[in-house]
């Protein structure tokens, strides 16, 4: 039996904790207490699962990728279809959980940070559904790049707050959201989008995403009467990965987290936090991150906005250190190739984030035996990435 993490100090082994301005210690305490109470309350569980089912359409399907399996000629490949969630990715599971908690805490205003806009859309969505006011912090540069998602959030009634500090990307939007929360924590709930941030966020987001793994486990047993041999998930902040890994941590199942190698981990342009980063503190949590020799956080790069983050959830840092999870990295080009392959073989256009997990799985599947099985977390759909894909594939498909 593994030790239960996080511990009482909000740590996963050496990582996690609460590295935040004093002003946030109170609100984090309040959140932790509310979360503990909620998770012990069957009525909360019931409401959360009711909304997941009735509103987001859970359980999401487990799809056997027969054509990919035949094509690669190795392990049987299964896909956990988080792309079929309302709004198109796993992000909504967590947003629903936190929004319900916010209501329970009597907070009627939520704030969120977003990079590509997926978590922003999920937050704006639950804000609409549960009658909350919503501010989404988003870097100016990202606002420019993700015009459609910005409009979507506004249509949902959210306010999108442009962030000009730093480089105007996700890291800066997160800083700004935290700053806003510091000043307005009394009546605002900060809805973080991944298993990052100060305790209890990494734990809370994991617990609201573990439904992916819980369902997968049940569905896989039904389908194969065994657990999968390997599970793959892409890792940005790490929420879809923690969600699918967590219920399998104590099983004899190999878990593989896949980071973005961008233009290659031997170039400066990547987002491979565990592969290339070092321990440090980012956004309130001790974990691995990308930084220079002076401890200044550096800008990551990935073609996929959702993986373009210089940190990673502290639980991943722990699972990396203890070697319970293997972490690999995949370049932009490898991800694009895998995306194309899944599209033509299975008729599913995945998010570019997801394609990183696919690429790694497709590398390993042919080397596995035919009675082994693979489960890939299909964290989101590619609709949001069409502009990027057009840039890369327009000529090829003509």
């Amino acid at each position: 039996m593994l030790q239960v993490f996080p511990d009482i100090k909000g740590r996963f082994g050496d990582f996690g904790g609460k590295y935040v301005p004093e002003t946030l210690m109170g609100p984090l305490q309040e959140l932790e207490e509310a979360l503990d109470q909620a998770l012990e309350d069957p009525a909360f569980h019931e409401e959360y699962h009711h909304v997941l089912k009735e509103y987001s359409g859970r359980p999401t399907a487990l799809t056997y990728a027969d054509k990919m399996t035949d094509y690669l000629g190795g392990a049987k490949i299964y896909l956990k279809r988080e792309d079929l969630n309302h709004t198109g990715a796993h992000k909504l599971n967590n947003a629903i959980g936190q929004a319900l908690l916010a209501k329970r805490m009597g907070k009627e205003k939520i704030i969120a940070e977003t990079g590509a806009g997926q978590h922003g859309v999920a937050s704006a969505t639950v804000a609409a559904k549960f009658g909350l006011e919503c501010k989404v912090f988003m870097g100016e540069e990202d606002i420019r790049r993700q015009e459609l998602n910005v409009f979507r959030m506004k249509l949902l009634g959210a306010e999108v707050v442009p962030v000009t500090s730093g480089n105007g990307t996700l890291k800066d939007a997160t800083n700004e959201a935290i700053r806003y929360w510091v000043a307005n924590c009394e009546d605002h709930f900060y809805l973080i989008g991944s298993v990052v941030g100060p305790h209890p966020y990494p734990r809370m987001v994991r617990d609201f995403q573990r439904v992916i793994g819980d369902e997968s486990r049940r569905q896989f047993m039904e389908r194969e009467e065994a657990l999968p041999d390997r599970i793959f998930a892409c890792v940005g902040g790490g929420s879809n990965a923690m969600g699918i890994f967590y219920p399998f941590l104590e099983d004899d199942v190999e878990l593989i987290g896949v980071e973005a190698a961008g233009k290659g981990v031997h170039t400066p342009e990547h987002a491979a936090t565990l592969t290339k980063g070092t321990p440090g503190v980012i956004h309130g949590s001790k974990t691995y991150l990308m930084q220079d020799e002076n401890g200044q956080i550096t800008e990551p790069y990935s073609i996929s906005a959702g993986l373009d983050y210089p940190g990673i959830g502290p639980e991943h840092a722990h699972l990396f250190q203890t070697k319970r999870v293997r972490y690999e990295s995949i370049t932009d080009q490898e991800a694009l190739d895998a995306l194309k392959l899944l599209t033509v073989k299975e008729g599913i256009i995945p998010a570019i984030e997801t394609a990183h997990a696919l690429a790694q799985a497709f590398k390993e599947a042919p080397k596995m035996s035919e009675d082994e099985t693979i489960l890939i977390n299909l964290s989101g759909r590619g609709d949001k990435d069409m502009a990027t894909l057009m840039e890369h594939f327009q000529e090829e498909v003509e």
Binding site: K9, G17, K18, Y19, V20, P21, E22, T23, M25, G26, P27, Q29, S165, G166, K171, D172, N175, I178, R179, V182, A183, N184, C185, E186, T278, P279, G280, V281, I282, H283, G284, K286, L289, Q291, E293, N294, G295, Q296, I297, T298
Partner: protein
Amino acid sequence: MLTKTSFQGKLTKTENLFIPFVVAGDPTPELTVEYAKRLQDEGADILELGVPYSDPLADGPTIQRAAQRALKAGMSLRKAIQLVPKLREAGVEIPVVIFTYYNPVMQIGHEALFDMLEENGAEGVLIPDLPYEESEEIRELAEARNIEFISLVAPNSDQRIQRIAESAKGFLYCVSTLGVTGERNEMSAEALSFIKRVKEYSQVPVAVGFGVSSYDHVKLVNEHADGVIIGSKIIRIIEDGLEKIKNGETEQALNDFSSSISTLIKG
């Protein structure tokens, strides 16, 4: 009360403390030394020397801008600490508190940090994202090295106020209102009653920061607390002079700086 003020014995005053904040290297290391001297001349009791950071969570836009300027000028935690001997050379004698986010500290290492602070003669350190619960090891080290680890306390610190206040060293940094650094125009009744509570438990002077930006503030704060910490407002005064400095009128800019500080502190 207030018997244990310290900074290696260099802080003897326990009232009406004026604790200015500047960012090391904003706009250049040399000018930081000049500003520090002027601040001491205007009556500063302790200097908070900020280390610029890429992701300063607890700071508003003014200090963010200053950090960007300083980072561009190549400043780092190591270099900021190494600026202390230069301050001394230039005649700055008041205690210096290094203000830095935790990540650069983690990269240097706790022992190495204190070695450097000692070697370079800094009297204190303040880490805004290292709350009480995460700072045990550092607090112990600080005590062993006789360097003041400055604690912060906020209105919503609630039950933690007593614990934090009781263990405070040097001075206790009181966050007057919720929020990041910046300028505000009022001080609420709640803020005042909070300060009162803090003072009950604190063995060191209680200084109030976050939002002090005018002589009226300074007066008001000093009526209830033991001193003021002023950051953003000072950065803004520095910014007012940047154009002149660019045009080579550095002396004029520094004189303007002094007179603005004087107005801020003395009315």
